[in-house]
């Protein structure tokens, strides 16, 4: 009886780990897409609205979904309230703090931090170039992420379950 319960627990845990890993593979391309939408919006705010950065980021934050929202909202409030820091520092802090909650990887973070170094610090044409560059990088990452998702998502799920089954068999 105890054995059966133990085996059941191991199976559940293994399956869940597999599913969680698979969800990460599925979430990454989705979040990259959201990030792309957010940058598209930023582009519009800069090009047509000429909205100051704190407001622009605040508006974007209100429009995107949760793990990414925190990054934009935090950056906006830092820009509004912090005295004597630069936009780059505010952006970096927001990205660093919010990143662990996302499914995004180092490559996307690099792109975002690079965008931060020029954020707000040049004229409109130049800003748009930087935003578009970041978008191009994200698009490349998105393609790679989708490829990974296709390859590994299902595999992770089955691997979790099969690994658990292996452990159970070995223990029996």
């Amino acid at each position: 009886m105890v054995k059966l319960a133990g085996a059941f627990l191991v199976m559940t845990a293994g399956t869940l780990i597999g599913f969680a890993q698979a969800a990460r593979y599925a979430a990454r391309p989705r979040q990259i897409r959201e990030l792309l939408h957010a940058l598209k919006r930023l582009e519009t705010e800069i090009a047509y609205g000429q909205t100051p950065l704190p407001e622009a980021l605040g508006r974007i934050g209100a429009a995107v979904a949760v793990p990414l929202r925190d990054i934009f909202v935090r950056a906006a409030s830092l820009l509004r309230d912090e005295r004597g820091t630069t936009a780059e520092a505010c952006w970096r802090e927001a990205v660093e703090t919010g990143w662990p909650d996302t499914a995004l990887r180092e490559a996307e973070k690099e792109a975002m931090l690079r965008l931060g170094t020029s954020l707000g610090a040049s004229d409109r044409a130049d800003q748009l170039k930087h935003v578009r560059l970041a978008m191009a990088q994200l698009e490349a990452e998105e393609a790679a992420a989708r490829e990974e998702q296709r390859k590994y998502e299902k595999m992770c799920r089955s691997l979790g379950m099969l690994g658990a089954a292996l452990v159970v068999i070995l223990m029996v």
Binding site: I46, Q50, T51, P52, L53, P54, A56, L79, R83, G84, T85, T86, A87, C90, L119, G120, A121, S122, D123, R124, D126, Q127
Partner: protein, 375 residues
């Protein structure tokens, strides 16, 4: 919170720390804060300037002064542009930014040219913060001299002075007095205030926040904020039916065109211009033409000696005839064409210019403000 405190909010912490340590009387009269990258911090008050040590002590020895570094300047520029240079292209082209509270911050740096015209500034390394001051009642000595008794309103007026003499401060209070009906003249008792339209190209006169003036401009004032003067004057006339239009710092040909339009629409104009005196007005092409056309009926010339702002009023006829040279300053003078207005005072010996006032007349002429700002 005072207007100065609100200015300090816009400055980087390290700079603010130094300025906060200045003695209170100095802070109260502060007119200019000059921040230059890697060079000593300079402040201006009461028409003089000194350097400031890191402890907030005034010094004439610039080597002891606090020096803002690159970080401070970058943070300052980012803060006053709200981290958005792309949204400030027009301001960077013109070389100044106005922050909430009506304080204007002039910029110096390297210009970027495009087809030979200045496109914007980059590498900004010099800032001149001009502290805006509200001096309610500072126009009391001037306004009675500018009244058109027949039409029960103010005459077409041009206020001239070099920078830093308080033109904008005076203009602001004139707008307030006219819109509130605070005429300060016995014959004007019972006159109503007039509808005033202000074209506030640099957001200095009214210091609007979200469209609402933060300076007291009386009850009958409409402000077109951050609007080019020439276009703004036309917009006001078309849409807001002003009786008096107030504009700051005219001098471009299109400004003149708009003012002519206002004149023909039966609207009174009160404007300011940079000039040392009437001679300068008559030597600047656009102003000369306006003066020759008789657009302005009165000129107010501001000058400052020993921290006191003094003014005198010259009528158009005197200006054109060159008679103003002999004209002694007259305090609160009724218009020349007004009933009961006296004849000319005996000619003053002193030449025109900053200190060309007779001591006796000067005291009577002082505008009750010290260190008004925004020339």
């Amino acid at each position: 919170m005072t207007r100065l405190d609100r200015l300090f909010e816009w400055l980087p912490v390290s700079l603010c720390d130094v300025l906060e340590r200045l003695p209170e009387p100095v802070k109260e009269r502060l007119e200019e804060i000059r921040i230059r990258e890697g060079r000593p911090l300079e402040i201006g008050y009461d028409s003089r300037s000194t350097f400031v040590t890191p402890d907030g002590v005034e010094t004439d020895d610039y080597r002891l002064a606090w020096q803002p570094d690159r970080e401070v300047c970058r943070a300052l520029l980012e803060r006053i542009t709200r981290h958005s240079l792309y949204a400030m292209e027009e301001e960077l082209r013109l070389g100044y930014i106005t922050v909430p509270g009506g304080h204007r911050i002039g910029l110096a740096g390297r210009t970027v040219l495009e087809n030979g015209a200045v496109r914007r500034l980059r590498d900004v390394a010099g800032f001149n913060v001009r502290v805006a001051r509200e001096r309610i009642g500072c126009s009391a000595g001037v306004l009675p001299g500018l009244l058109d008794l027949a039409a029960q309103t103010v005459r077409h007026t041009l206020i001239v002075s070099p920078p830093q003499q308080g033109k904008t401060t005076l203009l602001r209070d004139l707008a307030r007095a006219v819109s509130a009906g605070d005429w300060r003249h016995p014959a004007a008792r019972g006159w109503r205030g007039r509808k005033v339209g202000i074209v506030d190209e640099r957001s200095e006169i009214a210091a609007c926040e979200n469209g609402v003036p933060t300076f007291d401009l009386g009850p009958r004032c409409d402000v077109l904020d951050a609007c080019p003067k020439a276009e703004g004057v036309m917009m006001l006339i078309r849409s807001m039916s002003p009786e008096v239009v107030v504009v700051d710092e005219i001098g471009r040909p299109e400004d003149a065109e708009a003012l002519r339009e206002a004149l023909n629409a039966g609207v009174r104009v009160v404007a300011t211009a940079h000039a040392e005196g009437i001679d300068d007005v008559l030597s600047r092409p656009v102003l000369r033409q306006l003066a020759a056309e008789g657009l302005f009926h009165a000129y107010v010339i501001l000058s400052r000696t020993a921290g006191r702002v003094t003014h005198r009023i010259v009528t158009a006829e005197e200006a054109l005839a060159g008679r103003w040279r002999r004209q002694a300053p007259r305090a609160g003078a009724a218009p020349r064409d007004a009933p009961g207005a006296g004849g000319f005072l005996p000619p003053a010996v002193s030449p025109p210019g900053a200190s060309g006032f007779r001591p006796g007349a000067e005291t009577a002429n002082q505008i009750p403000c010290q260190g008004g700002n925004h020339g």
